[in-house]
């Protein structure tokens, strides 16, 4: 017990962590917006944002201010109550998702045995938010986007779970810290060497679950205007956007912890290795976005049900047999 405040120490840690995470998520949102636009620019042989600040570094701040300043409009005929609850439902689980992630040897907000399960459970809620947003907008593009989001997330959640399960079986634990400390400092001691198939499946499914190109069908701008968030203005859209970036960081952080050795590194293990790996994966995600064209919807579903799911099952079986031997 902490006498001056009367707050239990565990609760205090979590409150502190939540405050820090809010800052982390917001800051990362800004950095990622800038990175995304710069990476997109350079891949398309143009400089990207250049006007606001040196090399356009203040561009995301200007973007954020613009979003905050815009009027919030509820479309006529929309289910007003659900329409404004949806962005909140989309963003609220983000904080829970970050709690069990081991950023460094001691830098974990909440050490828990079921950490991996916690992330998987709360990550699923995002889809519900997309559905509600698409439904309550009373707009055919939004509804089509929501329908796509449902089919896509259901299809890709299963191989993702199976890929993660292979690692969990290998370590006999759902605690991310245990899994990280079970891996060595050098790249050949990381899980990606033992479980390359699981990593491949995980990363493809993570792209689909976060609605990133080439799997960005729920918001496909060239077909559906903006999909499920067509009708959202200002911060309504901004919160969806922030939640998407936060989810990207979470899936990359989980990939880092599960497959890339987490905070382990050849020299001076610590939080910096974790962040470097997470940002490398994020850059790969952006690189994918500007490299691959969007898949067609039947291709998307076929890829999951006919290829990734059987592959994940075989991978899980082989892992089980090897673990038992």
């Amino acid at each position: 017990m902490n006498p001056p405040f009367g707050i239990p120490p565990e609760l205090f840690t979590i409150l502190l962590a939540l405050g820090l995470l809010a800052g982390f998520v917001g800051l990362n949102g800004l950095v990622l917006v800038y990175l995304e636009r710069k990476v997109a620019g350079h891949i398309q042989r143009r400089p990207g944002p250049f006007e606001v600040g040196p090399h356009g570094i203040l561009q995301p701040l200007a973007d954020a201010l613009k979003l905050v300043g815009k009027q919030l409009i509820t479309p006529r005929g929309a289910d007003k109550w659900l329409f404004w609850t949806a962005p909140i439902i989309s963003f609220a689980p983000v904080f829970v998702l970050f709690l069990p992630i081991p950023f460094g040897p001691v830098l974990t907000a909440m050490e828990m045995d079921l950490g991996l399960l916690l992330i998987l459970a709360f990550a699923g809620i995002n889809v519900l938010a997309l559905c509600l947003a698409g439904w309550s907008s009373e707009n055919k593009w939004s509804l089509l986007g929501a329908a796509r989001a449902v089919a896509q997330s259901v299809a890709y959640e299963i191989p993702l779970l199976l890929a993660v399960l292979a690692i969990a079986f290998q370590f006999g634990s759902l605690n991310l810290s245990t899994i990280v400390s079970g891996q060595g400092a050098w790249p050949w001691q990381w899980n990606i060497m033992v479980q390359p198939v699981a990593f491949f499946i995980y990363f493809v499914c993570a792209l689909a679950e976060t609605n990133r190109a080439p799997f960005d069908l729920p918001e496909a701008e060239s077909e559906l205007t903006a999909g499920f968030h067509t009708e959202y203005s200002g911060m309504g859209f901004g919160i969806f956007f922030l939640a998407e970036y936060a989810n990207m960081i979470v899936v990359c952080a989980v990939a880092t912890a599960l497959f890339l050795g987490g905070w382990n590194g050849p020299a001076a293990p610590g939080v910096w290795w974790f962040l470097v790996k997470v940002y490398l994966l994020l850059l790969v995600m952006m690189w994918f976005r500007w490299t691959y064209p969007r898949v067609r919807f039947d291709q998307l579903l076929n890829l999951s049900w006919k290829w990734l799911l059987p592959l994940a099952l075989i991978n899980l079986l082989v892992t089980l047999v090897l673990v038992k031997i």
């Binding site: 659900l82 079921l114 399960l117 459970a121 519900l128 559905c131 509804l143 259901v154």
Partner: protein
């Protein structure tokens, strides 16, 4: 900590009741679904209070996320335009009948529990996940397997129905 637990229990029950009422009284199917999801979320909180975090997380993973989305999918497949599913109000005797039907089992269970209280632990103890798994594959093996068989049959039936409808067109 004891008071904190009571506060948490109060919060969870409020969420459950509010969600339940919303699910029952909403004229709009999607709003009813949101109420249901809220209730399931509150139940997950109650599992957490009973020191069963695994159950709580599974409840969220399966019910709040997967099952709700499945129901949403079902609603979407039968979609009338938003607002068009409003039904005219029901006559008072239907409402009264519903209340009686809801109260009767509640009163019965409350009476039984009052006369013969269930034996329960003073404080919940967390069961190790390994033991839970062991119980599934040892004493309750048959029940566990039967459930998987039922699920497989249900899934095969759904696929079959889908294919029959497609051929029928």
């Amino acid at each position: 900590m004891e008071t904190l637990a009571y506060v948490a229990f109060g919060v969870y029950t409020t969420i459950i009741l509010f969600g339940g009422l919303m699910a029952v009284f909403s004229r709009n199917l999607v709003r009813a679904l949101v109420g249901l999801a809220l209730t399931l979320f509150g139940v997950a909180g109650c599992y957490l209070l009973m020191a069963a975090p695994f159950m709580a997380l599974m409840q969220i993973l399966i019910y709040v996320a997967a099952v709700s989305i499945m129901i949403f999918f079902a609603i979407m497949l039968t979609k009338p335009p938003v607002g068009a599913e409003e039904q005219p109000g029901r006559p008072w005797w239907v409402v009264a009948g519903c209340i009686v039907a809801a109260l009767a089992p509640t009163m019965l269970i409350a009476r039984v529990l009052h006369v013969q209280p269930l034996v329960s632990h003073e404080h919940p103890t967390e069961i190790v996940l390994m033991d839970l798994g062991q119980t599934f594959i040892e004493p309750y093996f048959l029940a566990f397997e039967l459930i998987s068989v039922i699920l497989t049959v249900a899934m095969a039936g759904a696929v079959l129905l889908a294919f029959e409808r497609r051929q029928g067109q």
